[in-house]
Symmetry: C2
DNA sequence: GTCTATAGTGGGATAGAC
DNA sequence: GTCTATCCCACTATAGAC
């Protein structure tokens, strides 16, 4: 079953995304999702095999949204822009998107990924802008690790209150750029 | 109630740590913990107010172990060693400890921290080696973010299978050192 | 400090009628 | 495709006897 083939399924995934974004992962239950859609939880199982399948559809949707933002952040720059400028633009977009959609961000970047249930190439497409901007695989991975580390530690409230994170971001971008 | 004042409580926290390390967070239930200690779950509540208190004791214990490893990694080097050598040593110890104790590592670095239930200064003590090696607050935060990002993405299987992560670690350490 | 018994909650999922 | 009714599971936590 795919979202394209069933408008009702697309509505369900959309409602699940809204529920996740507003309530967090603990709030995404089959009952709550049914409520939001004006149906009983058991009815959802006519559209989706189980909760895992629903989550895989949700992850795919989140990758599309996240990837679009990353691609735009790079598309707005001239191709010959210096590497540091490209990384800085990506970092800004990355951080802003994560802060605007923390639960979606965690869904896309945290925990194991059900790769076998995801459309082919989707994950690679979303990561493409970083790879292109960084100049080498190793640098792309280091840059991604830095950005993810800063982002998730910030979301989790792990830096000391009042820490100057803008400066820490700049330090990392300067070093890795 | 503190671990120092009650040997039985220390045994409970130790058993909880073993259970978490072997079974993961989902395996750490009051029933399973009781089983491991040869007692019924309700009896645990004579030693601990609730599960949150137990988790806070566990987090404190994990900080002590993790912090000890980080301090050792720095203590083994001459004080005048170059910054890059210090960071490399810390990174090696950091990565190795996380891989040896993935669930403990997640406990210490992931999610929100119940700071009000943790001994004063423990968190800062554990982070001290990174702060000292990095040379500035901003660089320390960037270095920690990079190390955490590499580590957690690796633990979660987020890099492509077969990716050369040693080289990515080296790239980050060189850049940030 | 340990036990038994049990309350209370909330979750995923199925059967079968309509 | 939706419903009602229900099952089964697992967990935290309390009450009260010993």
């Amino acid at each position: 079953m795919s979202v394209e083939s069933s408008p009702r399924l697309a509505e369900i995934v959309e409602a699940a995304r809204e529920l996740l974004e507003s309530e967090g992962p603990g709030g995404l239950t089959m009952r709550a999702l049914g409520d939001r859609l004006g149906m009983r939880a058991p009815s959802l199982y006519k559209h989706v095999a189980d909760k895992d399948e629903l989550e895989a559809l949700l992850i795919a949707e989140a990758f599309r949204r996240w990837g679009a933002v990353m691609h735009e952040a790079l598309a707005g720059l001239p191709g010959r822009a210096p590497r540091k400028a490209k990384l800085a633009s990506l970092a800004r977009a990355y951080r802003a998107w994560a802060q605007a959609h923390p639960h979606l961000y965690r869904l896309v970047t945290g925990g194991p990924l059900p790769r076998e249930r995801l459309p082919d190439g989707l994950e690679a497409w979303a990561a493409q802008p970083i790879t292109r901007a960084a100049g080498s695989e190793a640098r792309a991975r280091a840059a991604w690790a830095f950005a993810h580390g800063m982002t998730i530690l910030e979301l989790d409230g792990r830096f000391p209150p009042g820490a100057d994170l803008d400066t820490a971001w700049d330090a990392g971008i300067s070093a890795l750029g």
